[in-house]
Symmetry: C2
Subunit: 183 residues, 2 copies
């Protein structure tokens, strides 16, 4: 069955600093029409940074929507459409965690909110970490912590990493690290 919904008309209903909100009238598979409201998002990258001692760098960050702090992996949005996902990952790793990485592994991608956003988050494992000159952004209130990666992966499996992108990134990284250990 072809489940595709085709846009008949699209309009921007809110043009914010962060959010670009669209409303489309669509043709459903059964021929009827319906409305779709969604966020047009530039995309993002998220990084699981593991140092030579097997520790992961996680951030403690306050998020206004939910109104509380979360454990997160370093992550950030694309500045422009032409940007490469890996370049965004490198920038955010430097800005949020203050490190650069010698080895990068692609973990895949995750779509955090397919019901109302086109956001794609590209996921990476970063290893061979060293401090960069670049300091943490002044306007980012994030606190970096290092903890054993195995402990963070166990937290994710127990449902204690409640930010979806961070949970997915840690569990995909754990699958890669576990597969290596089997070799």
């Amino acid at each position: 069955m072809d489940l595709t919904e085709r846009s008949l008309r699209s309009e921007q209903v809110y043009d914010g600093v962060l959010l670009d909100v669209r409303r489309d009238e669509v043709r459903l598979p059964n021929g009827e029409t319906s409305g779709r409201e969604w966020i047009k998002h530039p995309g993002a990258s998220a990084v699981v940074p593991i140092d030579d001692e097997g520790r992961v760098i996680l951030l403690r960050q306050y998020r206004f929507g939910p109104g509380r702090e979360f454990w997160e992996v370093p992550a950030g949005k694309f500045d422009s459409d032409g940007e490469e996902a890996l370049d965004v990952a490198k920038r955010e790793l430097a800005e949020e965690a203050g490190v650069e990485a010698a080895a990068w592994t692609r973990l895949g991608q995750t779509f955090p909110a397919i019901g109302y956003s086109d956001e794609t988050i590209h996921l990476f494992l970063a290893e061979g970490l060293s401090r960069t000159e670049e300091h943490v952004d002044d306007d980012e209130f994030v606190e970096p912590f290092r903890m054993p990666f195995a402990e963070a992966a166990a937290m994710a499996r127990r449902g204690e990493i409640e930010d979806a992108k961070s949970c997915v990134a840690l569990l995909l990284a754990a699958a890669v690290v576990d597969a290596r250990d089997l070799d």
Copy 2:
């Protein structure tokens, strides 16, 4: 360090059928002010339904924002604030997968888009499945499939379940099922 951002002023900037978009002026931890745009969301429940043959029911669903189909677990939004997460899970399991469950296990909760939404998704494992009279919603274009749960969990670990809530739900369910097998 107290990372809390306090709202100084809040306004609704778009009042849609699906999306309730807010803009707040906030006081940052350093005393400066900034703007926060976010979606006020009623919350949702998502279910990993595993039948007596060890198969999970997944849905194939087209999503307009990303413009493609995804593998998803049955899930849906709260209709009203007073609703219980478990009741929403039961309703969506019936409407989307056409089954009811004898045994329910809470897996935790995930926040899919903490940068711009307050949405919380409550995650459940549902077992002891039987068909319900209630038929699949006419206005939901979803195709249910049954596959071995171990296979779906392996897909999630390989990054092949790209919907974040479904990936998190499957991996948390796998942790619960794996822990039982160790007993």
